[in-house]
């Protein structure tokens, strides 16, 4: 059985790294998310108590910034840029193609097998290459709906190996 102490060991290490200062709340949550891929309620409450903050304050910060995820994401995160340049160069058809291919929608962002998450971001700053798709950390430029589906196929092929 894992004791509670053990369960939060990694969070404690992160809190120590940031000297348990409430002003470091955002980097602390970023580090926790980097470790666990998303923030659970339990985790946020633990962080709040450790920093001497009300849990509502931590929850408020976590929901304010779009980078914090309160739900687990898929193994491969596909981020489609919907900045102005990508938008005028046709990011919408790409999004629709990806949704269709993976059976996702505006409200359903992750596939049931937890393999893919499709999100849009407001601008990745690679406008010279519009439209842009980022899969995990890799950037793909001048993407078309067909190319985006091909990228998904490639990942699926690798996963099934």
């Amino acid at each position: 059985m894992t004791t509670p102490r053990k369960k939060f060991d990694k969070v404690c290490a992160i809190l120590d790294r940031y000297e348990r200062k409430p002003s470091h709340l955002i980097p602390i949550l970023q580090a926790v998310q980097a470790e666990y891929r998303y923030l659970t309620e339990e985790m946020m409450t633990y962080v709040a108590t450790s920093l001497g903050l009300p849990p509502a304050r931590v929850y408020g910060v976590a929901t304010f910034y779009s980078h914090f995820a309160l739900e687990p994401k898929g193994k491969h995160v596909i981020r489609l840029c919907d900045g102005t340049a990508c938008h005028v160069k046709g990011s919408n058809p790409i999004l629709e193609a990806l949704w269709k291919k993976l059976g996702l929608s505006e409200h359903k962002k992750t596939t049931p097998d937890m393999l893919f998450t499709v999100e849009t971001v407001s601008c990745l700053g690679a406008c010279g290459l519009a439209p842009v798709v980022v899969i995990n950390e890799e950037i793909f430029g001048q993407v078309t709906p067909e190319k985006a589906c091909q990228l998904v196929d490639d990942i699926q092929a690798k996963e099934n190996k």
Partner: protein, 631 residues
């Protein structure tokens, strides 16, 4: 503690540089990296070594072996459309769209036989001639690259190279020779205005902070470049991080700050990495620390990664974010200069502004004023994107016209498929979601902070998105409204609720539900949101709507009264029809139609059943004879 000897570093660098006969610079900006620049980089090292040419990736004073070829990476060179870019010095050759498979040929032809590889040179579309290097390419020759000059030439991760090219000399001058007051004065005299969007005189901001009696002060670099369609700050942070640090050191000296933050958007992981490395290198070299240049003045800098909130680009919201709170703006006054981070006097400058500071000190305020216009001196970087041949990062003096930027530097307007469209120019969106659009009428307007304000637009952070005739302006307004509605922090009712209502009205317009009163109501609400919001986000959120209404009212009216979209982008307003004169009866569209709305005999004109049609547009994409109209 010993003080850093800049002269010694410069000398060592130049001694080492003498052992290098050729330099190959591979652009490692985000654009080129996405197109495989690092594979090209690796292939060069491998191929050159195989060819028996001495090769190195680092200049070291202790390595005196002669005739080496140096392979280095650089920040964004701006010509993103043509990446990956490879520059050869001293040949002054620029190769475009280089693939790893091209490397063998470059090494054999150029490095060994001194012949350029013709097919990798940029061809000027105007006359079809090949351009050897940047001196021949109109995209570069018509710019005035000052802030961006070193991006694309220097290795961003090499502190010594930055120093060898005059880096940190101005920081040294600021600490060793100039008083805080003289520094503020010099920047005030230069007329430098904040490049983040507001255009507030930087010297004035500094002076206001300098005169505060509080001993603890902060300097903050605002790298939260949130405007969709803008990437100037990203390129400077990635391409020349030390220039930003030097600017911050000078700002800290001018106001008397001993601590600072660089707030970088989380979407820019490479910028975060490069800024962190630059700080670590500068600290290790003794440039940053407890006593800068032996003056006893300390400066500690930290990088803070943003967490994805556009409103944090607003200075009071940014401060709240550094303090670990939700990024909500607070009323001004008190200005950050009086009470900023943790209640202490704080100067917040944009990345580009800070990177310009060392250049101003080097040339002097009077020389700096020679470029640009009277009210907006100097140069400005713009991110040129959208339907334009040469997308990328450019820098021009204030006062340059749109015509020059779009047609000469940008190489003209393009169709959706990227081919040239000489008559295609419709509008350009400047300043992102806070800005407005400029039309054909404004092509010859000299652009600066004030001239743009008079036509209902703004310089903003510098995004220029070119749009062709096939772009629906109502949808563009809707796009920005959706963005600001999403990013509104929720503090002010008019911004929170008003943007949502405006978005819903724009949805009504693009989906055919609008009635005669909609446009009037939209305008009224837009004016109310402008007046009733606290910060820049809400105050400027209605700008794209007001500006498109002003210049493209007929297009709005066509949507509202005629229930048609002149650009053909609003699917709900489409009325697909088959032109019987063009239809060959090939049945391709009927086979593709997902709802079987298209019927007809083989080799006879087909028809669309409007009651079944879902206006998806697949038929128009399928038809080889352009027979389907109204989609």
């Amino acid at each position: 503690m010993t003080t850093i000897d800049l002269n010694q570093i410069r000398e060592n660098y130049h001694t080492a540089a003498h052992t290098v006969t050729r330099r190959i610079i591979i652009c490692a900006g985000t654009g080129c990296m996405a197109n495989g620049a690092m594979k090209v980089y690796d292939r060069f090292i491998e191929t050159i070594a195989k060819a028996g040419i001495p090769v190195t990736t680092e200049l070291k004073a202790e390595d005196a072996s002669p005739n080496k070829t140096l392979i280095s990476s650089s920040g964004c060179q701006g010509f993103c459309q043509m990446g990956p870019l490879v520059t050869l010095i001293p040949d002054n050759i620029l190769y475009t769209r280089v693939a790893p498979t091209d490397v063998d040929e470059i090494v054999t032809s150029t490095l060994i036989n001194h012949q350029p590889v013709e097919r990798l040179l940029y061809k000027n579309p105007a006359n079809g001639k090949s351009c050897l290097g940047t001196n021949d390419i109109p995209f570069y020759t018509r710019q005035a690259r000052a802030t961006l000059k070193a991006c694309g030439a220097l290795d961003p991760e090499d502190l010594h190279e930055y120093i060898a090219h005059g880096g940190y000399a101005m920081a040294h001058k600021a600490y060793a020779e100039l008083s805080a007051k003289a520094l503020c004065n010099e920047i005030l005299l230069s007329g430098l205005r904040g490049r983040g969007g507001g255009g507030f005189p930087t010297g004035k901001k500094w002076e206001l902070t300098r005169i505060q009696p509080e001993p603890k002060k902060y300097v903050i670099c605002n790298g939260d470049e949130g405007d969709p369609g803008a990437f100037m700050d990203r390129s400077v942070m990635e391409g020349n991080p030390h220039s930003v640090l030097e600017g911050m050191m000078i700002a800290a000296r001018a106001i008397g700050a001993d601590e600072g933050y660089i707030y970088v958007r989380a979407e820019y992981p490479l910028a975060v990495k490069r800024m962190r490395k630059a700080i670590a290198d500068a600290e290790q070299a003794g440039l940053l620390g407890d006593s800068l240049f032996g003056t006893g003045q300390a400066l500690r800098l930290h990088v803070m990664e943003g967490a994805g909130a556009f409103v944090c680009g607003e200075e009071t919201a940014l401060i709240a974010s550094i303090e670990g709170k939700r990024g909500m703006p607070s009323p001004k006054p008190p200005f950050p200069a009086q009470s900023g981070l943790w209640g202490k006097p704080t100067v917040i400058n944009n990345v580009e502004t800070l990177a310009t500071i060392p250049l101003i000190l080097a040339s002097g305020a009077t020389a700096y004023r020679k470029l640009g216009t009277k009210s907006s001196p100097g140069t400005k970087t713009f991110a040129l994107t959208g339907h334009v041949a040469n997308t990328g990062l450019i820098e021009v003096p204030f006062g340059t016209t749109l015509r020059e930027i779009i047609f000469n530097i940008g190489g003209g307007v393009t169709c959706k498929d990227g081919t040239q469209d000489p008559q295609g120019f419709k509008a350009v969106q400047i300043g992102g979601p806070s800005g407005g659009c400029l039309t054909r009428d404004h092509l010859d307007l000299p652009m600066d902070f004030d001239s743009l304000k008079t036509v209902g637009a703004m310089v903003g952070s510098g995004g220029l998105v070119v749009m062709n005739q096939k772009t629906c302006m109502v949808r563009i307004a809707r796009f920005f409204m959706q963005f600001t509605q999403n990013e509104s922090c929720g503090k002010c009712v008019l911004c929170r609720e008003g943007t949502r209502q405006m978005l819903s009205m724009l949805d009504d317009i693009t989906e055919g539900r609008a009635d005669t009163g909609t446009l009037e109501l939209l305008e009224k609400l837009a004016n109310a949101v402008q007046k009733g919001s606290l910060c820049g986000l809400g105050k400027t959120a209605p700008n794209p709507v007001l500006s498109t209404l002003r210049h493209f009212r007929a297009e709005y009216e066509a949507h509202v009264h005629g229930k048609t979209c002149p650009a053909g982008e609003c699917k709900a307003l489409a009325h697909p029809e088959i032109d019987p004169a063009l239809c060959k009866g090939c049945t391709a569209c009927a086979k593709k139609c997902p709802v079987s709305a298209i019927t007809g005999e083989r080799k006879q004109p087909h028809t669309i059943n409007a009651s079944l049609c879902i206006k998806c547009g697949v038929c128009a994409q399928t038809c080889k004879f352009n027979a389907i109209k109204g989609v």
